[in-house]
């Protein structure tokens, strides 16, 4: 019974991690201060700015892309950067690179968000129960060790191979690959807070395990979960590019930054821009998440934010 309560709580928090379990106004002024500290950090601002652009591009791709991403223009292949009508040039089939990058970014973020959601939805409850109940911990932790012993890409390749290449399957594979680290993080937070005096006093007022995990430990662990999510995100995005590059992710001709790279490599000397542009895009997305995540971690960490 208690175990069933936890995922429900975890889900509530994971879909809107910034809000914690008790609604937006439950954010402590500690987190208000964290936000201000985040905004004072130049690297954090750069990261936030990059992310804003990336997210806007992904959301508005259908509106701002000049052509459908799969539309071929056989008469104009290998256009250069700055060509009128194809500002970023075209690939071997004359597809507009700008449109494909926009849609590719959208696909990347989709995979990223889906796999982070999966890692949170599965990892957070498992982390909570394994940090709280010793008996379950033995089981969950061994499972985590086992999963972590596999290089995550091999795991993802294996899963994609079994289930066949598609965006959903790539997200699933990458999400599962990230579950163990999320379990570890949440388990550590649970161990940290389970001995806190406010948890002990909740036990003394006869609160159940579900109550304590959902209303005390989860909100206090939320910061760590958010930070971990920003760490997982770029890993998943690169993972998607890698899988698609290998032909195990999104299926062509659907646009994906990984597929664009894979297509472009055959003509890399003839049209280097076709390879460089998706590569730079991946780098920019990941850099955005990394800068933002670093600043967020500093802002939420009381030992560094006191400055």
């Amino acid at each position: 019974m208690a175990i069933q309560v936890v995922p429900a709580e975890a889900l509530g928090a994971s879909s809107t991690p910034g809000e914690g379990a008790g609604g937006g106004d439950d954010l402590g002024s500690g987190r208000g201060r964290a936000l201000r500290s985040l905004l004072r950090n130049p690297l954090g601002l750069v990261g936030a700015g990059l992310l804003l652009v990336v997210v806007l591009v992904a959301l508005l791709a259908p509106l701002i892309a000049p052509y459908p991403p799969t539309q071929v223009h056989f008469d104009t292949p290998f256009q250069r950067l700055g060509t009128k009508g194809f500002w970023l040039g075209t690939d071997d089939l004359g597809r507009d690179l700008m449109s494909r990058v926009f849609y590719g970014t959208r696909a990347s973020l989709e995979v990223g968000v889906l796999s982070v959601a999966l890692a949170v939805v599965v990892g957070v409850p498992l982390g909570l129960v394994s940090g709280w109940w010793r008996l379950l911990d033995t089981f969950v932790s061994r499972l985590t060790d086992l999963l972590l012993a596999f290089p995550f890409l091999i795991l993802a390749v294996g899963l994609a191979a079994v289930r066949g290449p598609s965006l959903t399957n790539a997200a699933l594979a990458l999400g599962i690959a990230q579950v163990p680290t999320m379990i570890r993080v949440v388990r550590a937070e649970t161990l940290r807070w389970r001995g806190a005096d406010f948890v002990t006093s909740a036990r003394a007022m006869d609160a159940g395990s579900g109550w304590i995990l959902g209303r005390h430990i989860l909100p206090n662990a939320a910061s760590a979960v958010i930070v971990q999510a920003t760490v997982i995100m770029p890993v998943a995005i690169i993972g998607e590019a890698t899988l698609s590059f290998l032909g195990l992710g999104i299926r062509p001709p659907a646009p994906s930054l990984g597929i664009m790279l894979s297509d472009a490599q055959q003509y890399i000397f003839r049209a280097p821009a076709a390879a460089v542009i998706p590569g730079v895009t991946i780098a920019v997305i990941c850099l955005g998440f990394n800068f933002f995540g670093d600043a967020l971690r500093d802002a939420l960490d009381p030992t560094t934010s006191s400055r």
């Binding site: 439950d26 002024s29 003394a204």
Partner: protein, 564 residues
């Protein structure tokens, strides 16, 4: 030339080791300069022992940090001067500072747990100090380190010098820090709350030892403490600080016996060691101990009873090895009375409180509340028993969930127990905040916006929400400043009168016990070594251990004389 020599000669006779004039220190936060020391002046003569007394935030540690050039963050000296043996060291250069620290001014820091490097052998940390100041190097330094440890009272020093800090107890680590502080034979030793993390008996041993070492070298001492009793025992001169200013300064006798400034008067009044010492003497002088008869009368009405309580913990990774935390402890707590459990760290008093609260299952024995066994109760009965007792913990920062509002914290027990609806819970919270004398406007604040004393009141309000009969206070006032401590103790006493509460008061502070408790249990090594009415135990301790504990209360003798 001769005149000049004469002048220096004549001043030298009275040149203080340290002279601070109109010292001002400010911190800059987000562009705003905030002055924390407002022109303080004092001096320390050679061989003099000066105690700087004040509450947290009064600026006493800042003063010490300023004169060692150790101000943290944006802190800097903005005015006044610091003179060390006639030399201006207000803004010393890097070189000068390196020579000053450790060599000329030794420092014994506050926390023995974090002030030693955990990955270096202890002997190495002392010889490093010697080497850094060119006092001794190589083998000689190693040898000297062992000698210093011996002098600081560490037995088997040659072997222990090769051990790491984690192999030392808190008291032993503090001795190591003293050895480091005195390593280069400084002329002034700054001791910043050197023993506040230690048990009273250990505190006394260490301070006795420090005094012996200091007297032998006629080192001057600047002792920073919040404990007036400590100042009474260990200083010639007392400087009382409040809010970055010196409110009163003078010889210890004069300041503590005839305080002039209202703040000092309040501080002296509030010091638990003072009142307990006075009370102890008054009992000794033959006044009838009131509590003794009272305990006889009311013994029949027992609220809490522990029978043969035992808790053993199995050590991890060591097969079958067990630690007995609580060993066959039996006692009764009378309804409406306050029973204190005192003991030093490791005596099992906290485990005992957790056993009573039902947070830890006993290995043997049982706890009864109104005759009902806590351990075997199930369902609604168990919930009722649980709600009949509520805890208040030591650390006002850790006991409130930082993500909750005050209202949310106080009404949590009601929500857990599904009592009332939103509106009625809100009314109850207002009522509870009122009971602990907190303004209702705090309800929507977060714990981190409150002071330590306010937080502890919130914790008390939460404990009272379910209308418990027994409140278990585990070191509930130990982390608070002396004035706040007194207010909190007054509040607890007041609540007891109004609500008929029974307290089980776990503490290491024997001085506090005297203020609040009716009965006392003295614990040592998991067993109860002495129990009885407070007046009786304090006046005529039956065991040597209790006597040691009582004698170790700082200032006990000093204030006892005064009471006489």
């Amino acid at each position: 030339m001769s005149a000049r020599a004469e002048a220096t000669g004549s001043t030298q006779a009275v040149t203080p080791v340290l002279e601070v004039r109109d010292l001002e220190v400010a911190y800059t936060t987000e562009g705003h300069e905030r002055t924390v020391l407002h022109g303080i002046s004092f001096s320390i003569a050679p061989g003099e022992r000066l105690a700087v007394v004040g509450e947290s935030g009064s600026g006493k540690s800042t003063t010490a940090a300023a004169l060692l050039g150790l101000l943290p963050g944006s802190g800097r000296v903005t005015g006044g001067s610091i003179t060390f043996k006639g030399e201006d060291i207000t803004r010393p250069g890097r070189e000068r500072l390196l020579r000053l620290r450790g060599r000329e001014v030794g420092l014994v820091p506050q926390d023995p747990m974090s002030n030693l490097n955990p990955v270096l052998r202890v002997g190495r940390q002392i010889s490093e100090t010697l080497a850094a100041h060119g006092v001794a190097t190589g083998k000689a330094a190693t040898q000297r380190a062992v000698e210093l440890m011996e002098e600081a009272g560490i037995p088997d020093a040659a072997r222990r010098a090769r051990q790491y800090p984690h192999e030392f107890s808190g008291g032993m680590r503090q001795r190591v820090l003293i050895a480091i502080g005195l390593a280069c034979a400084p002329e002034l030793l700054v001791a910043d709350e050197p023993t506040s993390a230690l048990d009273v008996t250990v505190q006394r041993q260490i301070l006795d030892h420090l005094e012996t070492l200091r007297a032998a070298r006629s080192t001057s001492l600047m002792l920073i403490t919040h404990d007036l009793g400590l100042a009474a025992d260990r200083a010639d001169t007392v400087v009382v600080m409040s809010a970055g200013e010196i409110v009163e300064a003078g010889p210890t006798e004069q300041i503590l016996r005839r305080p002039q400034h209202p703040y000092t008067q309040r501080l002296v009044e509030a010091a638990p060691s003072v009142s307990s010492a006075r009370a102890r003497v008054s009992v000794r002088q033959g006044e009838a101990p009131a509590g003794v008869q009272a305990s006889g009368e009311r013994a029949s009405d027992t609220l809490l009873e522990a029978v043969g309580l035992t808790k053993r913990y199995r050590l991890r990774g060591q097969r079958g090895q067990e630690v007995v935390a609580v060993d066959d402890v039996s006692f009764r707590v009378g309804r409406g009375r306050t029973t204190a459990v005192v003991g030093e760290s490791g005596s099992g008093k906290t485990t005992l409180s957790q056993l009573v609260l039902g947070l830890v299952a006993p290995t043997a024995g049982e706890v009864r509340i109104e005759g009902e066994v806590v351990e075997t109760a199930r369902g609604a009965r168990r919930r009722a028993i649980r709600r009949a007792m509520q805890p208040v913990f030591q650390d006002p920062y850790a006991s409130l969930d930082p993500t909750y509002s005050i209202e949310h914290i106080v009404d949590e027990p009601l929500r857990v127990a599904r009592i009332g609806d939103r509106a009625s819970r809100r009314r109850r919270v207002a009522e509870l905040l009122d009971q602990v004398a907190l303004p209702g406007s705090l309800a929507q604040r977060r714990p981190n916006e409150l002071s330590g004393g306010q937080r502890q009141r919130v914790a008390i309000a939460r404990a009272l929400a379910l209308e418990p009969r027994l409140v278990v206070c585990d070191e509930a006032v130990s982390a608070l400043d002396v004035l706040v401590q007194e207010q909190t103790l007054d509040l607890l006493a007041d609540l007891q009168d109004r609500l008929g509460l029974t307290y089980l008061f776990i503490t290491h502070d024997l001085a506090v016990v005297r203020q609040l408790a009716d009965d006392v249990l003295v614990m040592q090594g998991g067993t109860v070594v002495e129990e009885g009415a407070v007046e009786q135990v304090y006046a005529e301790p039956r065991t040597a251990y209790t006597r040691d504990l009582l004698d170790a209360i700082p200032g006990a003798e000093f204030f006892a004389e005064q009471a006489r």
